[in-house]
Symmetry: C2
Subunit: 119 residues, 2 copies
């Protein structure tokens, strides 16, 4: 049995409570693609009401809007990301990449003497 061991790092941002993490980030990326929170939710197999709750909870903690509604389209109008949401999403994704890169770079040194299958 040979494994390659690897670190899996998750990064969340908390205010008083959790306010931003991989779930919201993925939802925002889908909104950006689909210009609709409903379509974004569906594409993730998530109920629209849950997506809406996640976005509203995040906005409340962050103190700014993540989505900008455009009225009059199909399904009662679409949605796009606010400027602050775009900045936050880009900063979060880069931050995750860099934290994971640090974690990866340290991993072999820290664990190679323990996590091997030689006796």
């Amino acid at each position: 049995m040979e494994h390659t061991f690897r670190p899996v790092v998750s990064v969340r941002i908390f205010g008083e409570e959790k306010c931003f993490g991989p779930g919201v980030a993925q939802l925002l990326r889908r909104v950006e693609e689909k210009h609709s929170l409903r379509a974004a939710a569906i594409s993730m197999g998530m109920a629209y009401s849950k997506a809406w709750t996640i976005i509203k909870a995040s906005e409340k903690e962050l103190g700014f809007d993540l989505l900008v509604s455009s009225t009059g389209g199909k399904n009662g109008g679409g949605a796009t990301l606010s400027e602050k949401a775009m900045s936050l999403l880009a900063a979060y994704e880069q931050y995750c990449t860099d934290v994971r890169s640090y974690a990866q770079s340290e991993f072999q040194t820290r664990f190679s003497h323990i996590l091997s299958h030689t006796p």
Copy 2:
């Protein structure tokens, strides 16, 4: 509404599947204190059978034993950590500390222009 935003970073180690993370680490620390998997599980509000399953799944992925049983004690004998478990636990905790420290040190620079409550 003033928040101090902060990163919350969780670190897990995967082989083919998840094999080590905060739950197993906490369980091992409790075993070290209590010299018993049963007492460790109870102290965490966890069923003994669940604790046993977690340890066994981790051992299977890691390829070595985490616990050393001592027979003949109360409750069918106690348990202590194997040498490899002690090494892994110490390395994991230091690794988590250092990954979190890196994440914390980068956080203000990356997010201070976005995560503030000034308009």
